[in-house]
Symmetry: C2
Subunit: 131 residues, 2 copies
DNA sequence: TTAATAATGATAACGATTACTGTAATTAGA
DNA sequence: TCTAATTACAGTAATCGTTATCATTATTAA
């Protein structure tokens, strides 16, 4: 086991993830952090995003379109992907509902369900307005 | 709009997807179909997997670990990813539960929810036995 | 049977991510 | 505070999954 050592770059990445409402891709994080660290490397961004994910200070979200997104909110919550514009949004679902889903799923399942993540699809309000 | 033309390769891919219980990656489909078509190209596999997905005869599943998986079952259902062995399994959840989740989610959401896909995490029965 | 065109196999190109390497920053201990 | 040990860095090459290109083959409608 290797000890964690402070770094400004990691702190900046973490801070950005925790304050943004978006769910940026690694490249978007890179672009942002570049403002403070003009010659930060994309590899550093990936390394730290994975590190933060591993120690539970960030969450990785997989979508069927393109690269993974990262989220600084680590409490269980779900996401909505707009099938028109591709935006990924937070979607609140109270803990009870999440637990209820896990319980329902466990009824017909032979293993141990620890958590779940739901991705909802549809049209976001912005796209509905435009149509 | 381009007309669809029959091909043995596509038929074989489709047949495999519909009969297997697994959720193969593109490469696993490739390996399997190779038995009948020894010089099929991986590009052909991808092309047809995407085509089948587009016309609704297959489903693409994104997981946080590595490549996408494909599923010949097109009725709405959910999946379970074992955090130990990485296996992706079907998980039955009756339509009512799925609709209920979508309804609950819609309550606090401003757009239109059309569908959802839940990925459950935990340990599969095989891994539990081994521990 | 033929002409039109969609699908193929082979391979190159691509984008996202990871691995490598020598240098710089952080940290624990004297 | 200085030093030594070690982690993190920037830069870059390599890898992996996937898509695009293209000349050839298979399917299909007339």
């Amino acid at each position: 086991m290797t000890t964690l050592k402070y770094s400004r770059q990691r702190e900046s990445i973490k801070h950005f993830l925790m304050t943004t409402k978006e769910h940026p891709t690694a490249d978007e994080v890179y672009m942002h952090v570049k403002k403070d660290f003009p010659n930060i490397s994309l590899g550093t961004v990936y390394r730290n995003l994975n590190l933060l994910t591993d120690i539970g200070e960030a969450v990785k979200i997989s979508t069927p379109d393109g690269g993974d997104r990262f989220d600084g909110r680590t409490e269980p919550h779900n996401h909505f992907l707009c099938t028109r514009c591709g935006r990924l949004l937070d979607l609140e679902l109270d803990m009870k509902s999440i637990e209820e889903v896990n319980r329902l799923a466990a009824e017909n399942f032979d293993g141990l369900i620890e958590s779940s993540s739901t991705l909802f699809y549809g049209e976001c309000s912005d796209c509905i307005k435009k149509s």
